[in-house]
Every structure is written in C-alpha cells, then in structure tokens.
C-alpha cells in the first residue's frame, strides 16, 4: 500500500516537473532582431578576466547595435563541443563565438558542418599551412608583444632584481605570454631573474585560485617583488597574495586594478571585447568575412594600462621608455622570438 502511494506521488512529481518546462514563447515583435551565441572558456562568466572581457563585448553590441545574445557556460571541458553544436543548430542564431584556444578544433569541425552559419573564435590557434573554413573568423592576439611591454615595466621597476610569472595551464598560448614577458624584462634589465611557475598542466590551472595564491606566495618569499599572471580566474589568488605581502602584481586581459587597488602595477589588456563587438557589427552589416586575423600592438589588439590609478607607480620617465619600446616593436626593430 505504502509503496503504491510513493509510486503515485513520484509519477505526479515527474508530471509537474514536465509541465514546468518553459513554454514556447509566442513570436515576439523583435523576432527579426539579430541573435548571436557565445560559449565561454574555463572559468566562465565572472572570472574578471578573459571571459568577462568577451561578455563586455557582447553587452556593448547589445546596447549599441540592438542585437540579442545567448550564452552557454560549460561546466567542464567535455561539454564544449555540444554547447557549440546546440547554438549552431538553432535557426534564430546566425553567428556563434567560441572564446578560448580550447575551441580551436571543435569550432573548425562544426564550422565545416554548419556552412550556412558564421563562426568566430578568439585565441584560435592558427596552424600555418592549414586551411580554415571560409565561414570561420579566427582571431589571434600577439600576447607576446603586450607581455613584452609589461615585462619591460616590471624590469625597470623591480628593486630586488627578481620578478615572477604565473601561468595558468601550461600550454602553447600561455608560453607565448611567458616568453614575451621574459624578453621584455631582459631587454631593459639583462641581469634580472625571472621566477616562472604554472598552476597546472590541465585547464584546471585557470580556476585554481588557492593554489595560485600559494605559488605566488612562494615567488614573493623567494625575492620576487612584481608578478605577472596569465591564469584567468586563478589570478585572484595572486592578487590575494600581493595584498597579504604588500607587493605588486600585473593583471591580464582586462584592467584588473579593482581586484587589489594599490597592488596592481598595470594590466596587459587584450581587446577581446573590441574584436567581439567588431565581429557582431560586421555581421550585422553583412560584411562578415572568414579568415584569420592577428592583432598586435600595431592594430591596438594588445596594450598595457596607464591611467590615474597607476600614474604614481609608472613615472613619466618609465612611460617614455616604454613608448619608445612600443614604437620599436611596431617598426620591427625589436624582434620577439617565439619559444
């Protein structure tokens, strides 16, 4: 008897759940508004770094271009492809973004399948000699150029002659940050020592803040006075460590000054928001073209933050030196080597 009652109740509950499912919305008057989709990288929305920069671009497109967007925040790596596929198979979404180098293979494959849709991938790993689908816009940044500049700032400002680098996942992309940074430090201060460390060899390295904090504490206690990070969400661990020991840190992707006011020397910014906005705009004006695009200092794709907040740290003299270096990189006088 008791079992029967439980059975009936379970069936009823399942029925309620099913009926709770979102009703199909009636065709809204805005039905003809453009809709774009975006899938986030490890760390997800709210990482105050890479993903938030992408979201900022979408928000701006929504406000200025009147588009609508839909975002998917995959929990773990394996959902990434299905998230892209889900957005691609929607009839109302015409443009799909993948944010992060992890998407490289998945988005290439899906772009070949859904030829009538447009795709864009930020931080796409461009392999030379390999064709990419014509409906895919592969965006790559010259992080090494931006990192070179912040490296030069760190090299000029260090008092202990030791600086640190903290990477998220040990991968080709983050190595690019590291090598640019090291070359920048060495360019202005050849005798400077660089303590390099990575949080992990997997994507988890972008979201393990406690471990990042411990690593930065080790770097600081071994003499480093400025640490530059390229580790996404893990970076908040670095800022915690910097606050605890009153040392300096360099942010990445977005201006991360608010993470630890007074402790953030500068940030190496990537104009992820700008390229996403631009891609949506081109798409809206029917000017979206596939292909590869590499953005460096020349295209203002990467830069460093210099504003009222860090004026007292970066003196006029240093600023001038850095600007000279910028010109030299753009003109090709300084060559940045890849590892």
């Amino acid at each position: 008897m008791k079992k029967n009652i439980i059975c009936i109740f379970s069936v009823l509950m399942v029925c309620t759940l099913i009926s709770c499912e979102k009703k199909k919305e009636p065709a809204s008057p805005d039905n003809n508004r453009l809709k774009v989709g975006l899938v986030f990288d490890v760390g997800g929305k709210g990482d105050k770094s890479f993903n938030d920069a992408a979201y900022k671009g979408l928000e701006r497109a929504k406000n200025e271009l009147g588009i609508e967007f839909e975002i998917i925040d995959p929990g773990d790596g394996s959902d990434r492809e299905s998230a892209l596929r889900r957005l691609s198979s929607r009839t109302d979404i015409g443009l799909i973004f993948g944010v992060g180098f992890i998407f490289t293979d998945d988005i290439t494959r899906i772009a070949q399948e859904f030829t009538q849709k447009k795709f864009a991938c930020v931080d796409y790993t461009i392999t030379h000699g390999k064709e990419i689908p014509t409906n895919l816009l592969a965006l790559e940044f010259k992080e090494d150029e931006g990192s070179f500049l912040v490296g030069a700032i760190a090299g000029l400002l260090t008092t202990t002659n030791i600086v640190g680098f903290l990477g998220g996942m040990e991968s080709a992309l983050i190595k690019k940050f590291e090598s640019g940074y090291i070359q920048g430090v060495k360019y202005v201060n050849p005798g400077c020592k660089i303590l390099t460390a990575y949080v992990s060899v997997t994507g988890e390295g972008f979201k393990n803040a406690p471990k990042a904090k411990e690593i930065s504490l080790t770097q600081y206690s071994n003499g480093a006075d400025i640490i530059y990070h390229a580790s996404g969400l893990s970076g908040i661990g670095l800022f915690e460590a910097a606050k605890e020991l009153n040392k300096l840190a360099i942010g990445v992707d977005l201006d991360q000054y608010t993470e630890a006011p007074g402790q953030v020397l500068t940030s190496m910014t990537k104009q992820v928001d700008e390229v996403i906005f631009q891609a949506v705009k081109d798409y809206k004006e029917n000017e979206f073209n596939g292909g590869t695009k590499t953005l460096g200092l020349k295209e203002k794709g990467v830069d460093y933050v210099y504003d009222d907040n860090n004026k007292n740290l970066i003196t006029e003299e240093i600023r001038t030196k850095i600007e000279i270096i910028r010109e030299k990189i753009i003109s090709g006088e300084i060559k940045i080597h890849t590892q």
């Binding site: 709210g46 640190g164 080790t218 071994n222 908040i236």
Partner: protein, 302 residues
C-alpha cells in the same frame, strides 16, 4: 643549492602548514565516518557546500561568526541527509557519495549564477579574525594565529583520544569493525553510524570554511580535488589519526616542494614531484609499504 634554501625557510614551513590544514580536516572527517562503517567519498562536496554557504552568508549578513555557525549547521544537515540514505535506507554508500559530490558541486555553481550572475566567483568579503598579538609575528604569524589551523593541530590529539581512549570511540569503532557483536552488547549501531557521519560533516565543514575564509572569495573549483586527496591520505594513514597526520604532511610537503622546484627552474620536472604523493598512494594500496586494512565492516550497510 637554491632548492635547499627554498625549503629551509620559515615561509616554506608556513606554506606546508597551510596546505596541510584542509587535507587533515578532510582526512579526519572521512576517518570518523569510516571508523563508524560509513564510507563517505563526498568529502569534496561537503567542503564545497560549506565554503559556498560561508561565502554567501558572510556576504548577505556581513557577520563572519554567524556565517561560520550557519555553514557548519548546513553541512550537518547534509550529513544528516547522507546518513538517512546510507544508514537508514541502506543505499550503496559509494553511489550516494558520488551523487552528493555531483549535487554539491552543481548546487554551488547554481547558487553563484542565481545570486551573482557569475559562474565563477563571488565578490570579496572579510575573512575570519585571527588570534591577536600572535598574528603580528612576521611570516609565520598568519598561520599560528589562525584558529582553524590551531584546531587542526589539536585535532590529532583530540581524535586519537576520542577514538581510542573513550567509551564513545570504542562503540564507534565497533560499528565499523563488527556491528553484529556490538549490537549483541546493546550498542545502537545505527546511532553510532549517524554520529560518525555528523562528525564527518562538521570537520569537512571546517575545511571548506577555512578555504572560503582565507581566500576572501568563493570561486568555482577552488577545492580542486583536495577532498579526494584527503581520502588518499586517510588510506595511507591506515585509519589512524597520527599516521594520517604524517600522510597529510607528506602531501602538503610535496605540493610545496613542487612550487619551489618550479620557480627554481631545475631540470627535475615539477610534474614528477606533483605525481610523487600519488605514486606513494598506489604503492601503499597495493601493499608494498605496509599493509592497509580498513575497518572490517567499512562500507557494509547495517
């Protein structure tokens, strides 16, 4: 040379103690539960849920003490639920544990998105206060002045005393070793299994709270598998509080060593050092380094 000077300093010691704390809290939590016969592999989940509740309650009330109290209560309620499944309804403990882990990790993220529209972290908040005066000692004061770290050290003695020197401990162990014999002597086995699970909930709550408090923010994935490492430490420690203490210390030491090796740029790959504790775990499991024997009735519903 650099590596040696990197290890032989107080900052390194302080770091080992910080890394040790969550491991030992988690491992002791699991130990109490397994000693009573309940296998709880959801230590990770319990730590996540206490960390997220501490963070959310601190942010909404601004009172860290209340948050500490409430996060412990929330964890105890989950432990009660866990006991309801495994002790009362005799559901397979591993399956329940996996379910709890998935539920808790998902719930944490769900709450973040719901409240802060962010799938990765909460705003910043204040951490728990530290012991005055002691916390002003440079480098090591931060560790010695932390109430939870001090408690963790005392826990070695406390748990050893409770398990092996009290009537309660004897009965708890009988529930995990030979419940039939215990029952025949009038011990309410199920009650003791419930107590074991509740102590587990309390200790793992402290582990999660410690993380949320010292990081000043809750971020998704911050526990990062430490709950599972705690289980490994418990096995290496052969379910004995003192041995577990050294097992946790070993895990913490190798983790800290990995950082030193990385920044020293030595030829030894840091991944090798990273893997060392796990290799030791496997060696212990296959019986090369001493024999490990779990409580006889561990994981068998009664």
């Amino acid at each position: 040379m650099e590596i040696i000077s990197g290890i032989l300093n107080i900052a390194f010691l302080a770091q080992v103690l910080r890394l040790f704390t969550p491991y030992y809290l988690g491992a002791s939590a699991a130990n109490f539960s397994e000693r009573s016969g309940v296998v709880n592999i959801a230590i990770e989940g319990f730590m996540i849920i206490s960390a997220v509740s501490f963070a959310l309650i601190t942010l909404s009330t601004g009172n860290v003490f209340f948050a500490l109290f409430a996060a412990i209560v929330i964890n105890l309620l989950f432990a009660l639920l866990f006991a309801a499944f495994t002790v009362k309804l005799k559901v397979n403990m591993i399956v329940t544990g996996v379910g709890f882990n998935l539920l808790m990790a998902g719930l944490a993220k769900f709450l973040l998105v719901l409240i802060y529209q962010s799938s990765s972290n909460t705003p910043r908040y204040e951490s728990l206060p530290t012991i005055p005066v002691i916390n002003t000692i440079p480098v090591i004061g931060e560790v010695l002045g932390d109430y939870i770290i001090i408690f963790t050290f005392l826990l070695v003695i406390i748990s050893n005393f409770i398990l092996f020197k009290t009537k309660f401990g004897l009965r708890l162990r009988s529930a995990g070793e030979n419940p039939e014999a215990g029952e025949s002597l009038g011990i309410k086995i199920r009650n003791y299994r419930l107590y074991g699970t509740l102590i587990c909930g309390f200790l793992s709550a402290l582990g999660g709270i410690w993380f949320a408090s010292t990081q000043n923010t809750f971020s998704d994935g911050m526990i990062a598998g430490r709950g599972y490492i705690a289980l490994a430490a418990m096995i290496i420690g052969k379910w004995k509080p003192v041995n577990i203490f050294f097992a946790c210390l070993m895990f913490a030491f190798f983790e800290a060593l990995e950082f030193v090796l990385q920044i020293s740029g030595t030829f030894i790959p840091s991944q090798f050092i990273q893997a060392l504790p796990y290799i030791i775990t496997i060696l212990v499991l296959i019986g090369i380094i001493g024999k490990t024997k779990p409580p006889a009735a561990d994981g068998i519903p009664y």
